[in-house]
């Protein structure tokens, strides 16, 4: 499978990364190089193999569904690029 430029634009949009038109050909070539190399996995027959989602075979631990911290509003907002009172601020999204 080879990515055309429309597909590269589409996935950049899905990833919310702005692309300059001038950068598109180089990026498209790099991504196709990587994907072409990955194609080697098609040599393998994986029909009856169960997928491995992570290396730990242990069951995840359960814990009480309770609040373990809180009242840290200022800490949470401390790194905000913009804030309005106790809220994160973004450009107007509703007219």
């Amino acid at each position: 499978m080879s990515l055309d430029s429309a597909t590269v634009r589409r996935i950049a949009h899905l990833a919310r990364i702005h692309l300059e038109e001038a950068d598109l050909p180089r990026l498209q070539a790099e991504l196709n190089g990587i994907l072409g190399w990955i194609e080697q996995l098609n040599e393998l027959d994986v029909t009856h193999v169960e997928p491995l989602t992570g290396p730990t075979q242990m069951a995840l631990k359960m814990r009480e569904d309770v609040v373990t911290d809180g009242n840290i509003r200022e800490q949470i907002l401390a790194n905000a690029p913009d804030r309005a009172g106790d809220y994160f601020a973004v450009p107007k999204v509703v007219e």
Partner: protein, 493 residues
């Protein structure tokens, strides 16, 4: 002997004997950093005031007689670990202004045990790279030089390149790193020091900036295997805040370094040979086998038939997880923002300017392999191949106790090399990625120099949660190799 030359174990002993103070030990390291960091760029942020305060606290604890196991030991912290009140950049422009209001579990445990933090070590952006060239804060210079070619600047490896360079150049007694596909072991090999990635789940991932959550694992760097063992004991342990951290007791790794390896079975995987791998690496590997046999171990060939598919599998799984983990950098809650009147444009411009080219490539690959219609062809297939890689190891470990391989297919290369083709850079991790995919503990031990005078490492891979055997065999290897070479650029030279 300069204080910066000491091993961590030796420094600990002498601190307890009060031969020198933690303040003196820290000052010696801060002076070395002031002299060499402008050139090596191993630290992004030097935390002089914090280090001095921690050293003073360690001296008080030593005087009282209630000092922790790492009291007064100066360390470099990879700038991927969140440190409360200290800027944590992950080597990225997008996090350049980020000051975490909390401390990662691993660094909190090091603080608990009395360690001194000299600063935050440079790294590839979001730990994505094998050369430290992708850092937004500039490359790190490897303190080692090719014989007769002092002008060439070599890479320290990556992604934990600053950590490895700092320890090798004696700008810290040890360092933290993280390893997703080789980011501790490959830089350890390139810089002539030891570094271990423990079993996935051994160290808490809480407060470590996430790259690929099913692979990321913290571990230590140091100039000796024993020093790594000391550090890992403090870093490891169950953490309720990381649901994948293992609820198991942490053994005394230092004691494991003194175990005999008589009768242990060492597996030699016949697939760990790369096209174009220098003959010296093959020879060093053969010497490693002979050393372990001399120490009483038995060696036998084993087969890990899916080894060659490890890297391609990794370059689906890791970017997929990264594309999800890095979605949080949107210019709204933390990090940099490129202002715009339109929210969508704010996201897209912030991420375009905040991320470097390698991070963007991986986010785009990850977005693509997870997108509708391609998930099964790529991501699901990769997870199935990952199961086959794990099965290879499980079968091998039914016959042998530990595996011995080269750490990397080459010695350190020049800054700027392998930058034109991402796949060429990825091939650096060919021998380290399989153990990452299987979550296994693996260490790199400095074992020799190549003809150009650059260090080469050997890797030992162990069974899940059997770091003790890894440490025992690594110590035997270290004793036999007798690696006492030092880099040309180091403190006081």
């Amino acid at each position: 002997m300069r204080l910066t030359e000491l091993s961590l174990a030796e420094a600990r002993k002498r601190l307890h004997r009060r031969e020198f103070s933690a303040a003196e030990l820290t000052e010696a390291h801060l002076e070395a950093i002031a002299a060499l960091n402008p050139r090596l760029n191993a630290y992004i942020t030097v935390t002089e005031e914090l280090a001095k305060a921690q050293a003073a606290a360690a001296d008080r604890a030593l005087a009282r007689g209630d000092a922790g196991p790492l009291a007064g030991i100066p360390l470099a912290i990879k700038d991927l670990f969140c440190t409360e009140g200290i800027r944590t950049t992950a080597g990225s422009r997008i996090l350049a202004p980020f000051v975490p209001p909390y401390e990662s579990t691993v660094t909190a445990q090091l603080k608990r045990d009395g360690a001194v933090f000299l600063g935050k070590a440079n790294l590839d952006e979001f730990a994505m790279g094998s050369s430290n060239m992708t850092s937004a804060f500039g490359p790190v210079e490897n303190p080692w030089k090719r014989k007769g070619d002092e002008a060439a600047r070599l890479v320290p490896g990556g992604s934990s390149g600053g950590s490895a360079a700092a320890v090798a150049a004696q700008l810290a007694l040890g360092a933290t790193g993280t390893d997703t596909g080789g980011s501790i072991r490959q830089p350890a090999a390139f810089c002539g020091i030891a570094g271990i990635k423990p079993t996935y789940g051994r160290c808490s991932r809480w407060g470590i900036v996430a790259f690929a959550s099913s692979l990321d694992q913290a571990g230590p760097f140091a100039r000796t295997v024993e020093d790594c063992a000391i550090l890992l004991r403090s870093m490891a342990g169950h953490d309720p805040k990381d649901s994948t951290s293992a609820d198991r007791p942490v053994p005394d790794y230092e004691a494991a370094c003194r175990r005999s390896i008589k009768g242990l079975k060492i597996g030699i995987p016949r697939e760990y040979r790369a096209p174009g791998m220098p003959a010296e690496i093959e020879q060093l590997w053969q010497r490693g086998i002979a050393w372990l046999k001399d120490a009483g171990a038995d060696a036998q060939e084993v087969s890990l038939p899916h080894t060659k598919y490890g890297l391609a599998t990794y370059y689906i799984v890791a970017p997929a997880e990264a594309s999800s983990n890095l979605a949080r950098y949107d210019g709204v809650r933390f990090g940099m923002r490129v202002e715009s009147d339109d929210l969508l444009e704010l996201y897209e411009r912030t991420r375009a300017q905040g991320f470097g080219p390698e991070v963007k490539r991986r986010i785009l690959i990850g977005t693509y392999v997870l997108s509708a219609g391609y998930y099964e062809a790529y991501y699901l297939r990769a997870q199935k191949v990952r199961a086959l890689i794990l099965r290879d190891f499980t079968e091998a470990f039914s016959r042998v106790d530990v595996l011995l391989t080269p750490t990397a297919p080459s010695a350190a290369f020049e800054q700027g090399a392998k930058m034109d083709d991402p796949v060429q850079m990825y091939l650096n991790d060919i021998f380290t990625v399989p153990a990452s995919m299987a979550g296994l503990p693996a260490i790199s031990v400095p074992a020799g120099l190549d003809a150009q005078g650059l260090p080469l490492g050997l890797q030992l891979i162990g069974r899940p949660f059997d770091e003790e055997t890894v440490f025992a065999v690594a110590s035997a290897l270290e004793r036999a190799a007798g690696f006492t070479h030092l880099p040309q650029i180091r403190a006081g030279v």
